[in-house]
Subunit: 416 residues, 2 copies
């Protein structure tokens, strides 16, 4: 058993121009981490021969596995395949089975292959093809002097399918990697430097098998404990022991120790308590519903939602009283209270939540500036509200409102 | 005037473990691109001495500007500052003005500086500090042999403020960079290979000053034209000319040529035609509403939406007939027709749209497998429907359903 190191190469001018956010390498890092393969570095290079060849050479020096994404399309600007053929000094070969499969898939959609598509069945002789179920460009698996080079498409869905169905299972089969365990401890309401001060003695006493990192966010700091070694049981016990100590030292700031997002946590809590939720969203415009319904199985606890963007809909469809909106305005404590209570009744849910605010950039007034947000939570016995003054752009304000409300739901459910 | 090349170094195990998505380098790439500085490469390395020092050395060889993010916090796991001091062979110096400023800012929040915070006012002698308005770790600007090294915090808000207020203005002042113009042409409903075939002759005849890239997505392909040179006017004219040609060749697939997205395009069309829209979402669970309301000014044309996840809500709140759902099921042409027509009436909009399908991973049956989706669009004179069989995961199915429906709205509005 030895450490296996991977290096990631993303190819594409669109990433370096700032037009495309590279989520591929994020996904790959997470998946490799789960099976104990360490990513030592990731590099993004442009669609140019020299940059790509240079990246291949450097990566081969540093890592055991080189994972390449991008530049595999059927069009001229895609250079990865010819350059890999050159790098491995390999001729090209037409794979009849891949061609047949492509023909069949196109026929099903009532289309015929053109020359560009046909070219995708041609691969360097020295590689093994990796099946692409969602697209037309196969992946390529090369081996040379105990190094593995794998090329995958840049389209996230295609790359993910390839990783999950072909590449990760193969890695698990051939590598016997050390155990790598992460534990994330979520804290809220304490600045990083204060937390570090409180934890100084504890940190100095940490076992060498454990590495600590502070990951600061907006009003939140995550502590990450990483243990690596051979004995999973021993490492887990070690981590549990340190988490216990952390609870004793800074327990009042800790709101969770697991992975997964806040919407998932709330789903778990709702399921456990056999409760359902419904949302009335104004300023968040469907984002809260989207986060909840992004989780598989959410229909078990999510009843539904409404986003009555205009006041007449808040009144006529949701049932907020006209006088309330006239007297206090749509962005007010009174309005979010009625929104939460009405959506709870109308959608026949245990919990009703609501948002109303000025997301910006327009719509602000002297009294209610951009970033002013009210949220409410009604559970049938009482209705809680919160007022926020956020200072981000439209996207930021929508996101932090949603997270704040999800956190209110979490706190409420956790105190039951 | 010569090309100026930048290399980006992100420091942090959290990125390589797949725990944090690196949005910082995406932001920096986009901002540098706007002022004509080319990012030749970006690299992410771990929180270890060797990786960081090695990245400094390599970047210095390749680029004129080296921008570093991360590893600047007050805690022990943050290595960037001591390593930069070592790299530039520099002693440390306490900046009294920074210390005073920190004290003041802490006092305003009713807190006192601790030793860790005080340490943040100590910087390598050889750097100029860069002000951090949103956090406590100053940035550092080093110069050596005509190379610029700048270190910034990893917290996105702090890094962005530093870039916008200090670093980009300084770059504009000292560099006279070539013009770099991008034009994005958004197409929808045509596969990449078909598009490439149709554009082959045009592509072969492109001027050398223009570079073409295909950026495929779900149901969408973006074409990016990049022109670089000295004469902005000439380059703009050249690009305009090619865009005209593209419209003649594949105009029916083009929905826009700007930086905006499909939801924005629909917003523009609705505004121009003085029309409004309302959404009844089942399987997309609020995502369609979220995409529409992510755009500033959407309240001008977006009336609101409802996501009646459960059938009783489709019936009791939205007003779909009970018999329809009982006879045909929730995922059926009949149901999406009634959903679209009812949300149009109930929300008093010109156009009502609806989605109902099996997003997965659960919920599929023999007749209605995961990925089966119906969408509808009602405009008061007729109601159109579309049936799809998608094959992605839950997120992919939700996203492509939304894109497909937005495209139906675009086509309908464009034919008016």
């Amino acid at each position: 058993m030895k450490n296996i190191y991977a290096e990631l190469i993303s190819i594409g001018d669109e990433i370096l121009y700032g037009q495309t956010l590279d989520t591929n390498s994020h996904f790959i890092c997470g998946e490799l981490d789960k099976i104990g393969i360490r990513v030592s570095r990731k590099v993004t290079v442009s669609d140019s021969r020299d940059s790509i060849m240079n990246a291949f050479r450097e990566a081969e020096k540093n890592a055991d596995i080189i994972l390449i994404t991008g530049g595999l399309g059927p069009t001229k600007d895609d250079l990865t395949k010819p350059l890999l053929a050159e790098y491995f000094d390999s001729g090209m070969k037409l794979h009849e089975d891949i061609l047949e499969d492509l023909k069949e898939r196109y026929a099903k959609r009532g289309r015929e292959l053109n020359d560009l598509n046909k070219g995708q069945a041609e691969l360097p002789e020295k590689c093994k093809p990796v099946e692409n179920k969602f697209g037309t460009a196969p992946g390529m698996w090369f081996e040379k002097d105990n190094k593995i080079f794998i090329s995958m498409p840049g389209v996230p869905r295609e790359m993910q399918q390839m990783m999950q169905d072909s590449i990760l299972p193969k890695f698990k089969e051939i590598f016997d990697t050390p155990v790598l365990i992460h534990k994330m401890i979520h804290t809220v309401g304490v600045p990083e430097s204060i937390l570090a001060e409180k934890l100084e003695d504890w940190e100095n006493g940490l076992s060498k098998e454990i590495k600590l990192a502070y990951l600061p966010g907006l009003k939140q700091v995550k502590l990450r404990l990483t243990a690596s070694g051979k004995d999973e049981k021993h490492l887990n016990a070690l981590i549990d022991q340190e988490v216990d100590k952390l609870y004793k030292l800074v327990g009042k700031y800790i709101y969770g120790t697991d992975e997964g997002n806040l919407a998932q946590k709330i789903g778990d809590l709702l399921l456990k308590q056999n409760k359902t939720i419904a949302c009335a969203e104004s300023c968040t415009g469907g984002y809260l519903a989207h986060l909840i319904t992004s989780n598989a199985g959410s229909s078990e606890y999510y009843r539904g939602g409404i986003n009555p963007y205009h006041n007449d809909l808040k009144i006529n469809v949701l049932g907020v009283r006209k006088e309330t909106i006239e007297k206090y305005g749509a962005v007010s404590e009174q309005t979010v209270i009625e929104m939460a209570e009405r959506v709870r009744e109308l959608f026949n849910a245990d919990i009703g939540v609501s948002t109303s605010g000025v997301a910006g950039p327009g719509g602000g007034t002297k009294d209610k500036r951009v970033g002013t947000v009210w949220v409410a939570l009604a559970d049938g016995t009482k209705t809680q509200t919160k007022l926020y003054h956020f200072q981000f752009d439209r996207h930021g304000n929508i996101e932090i409102t949603t997270n704040s409300l999800l956190n209110l739901v979490r706190q409420t459910l956790s105190s039951n």
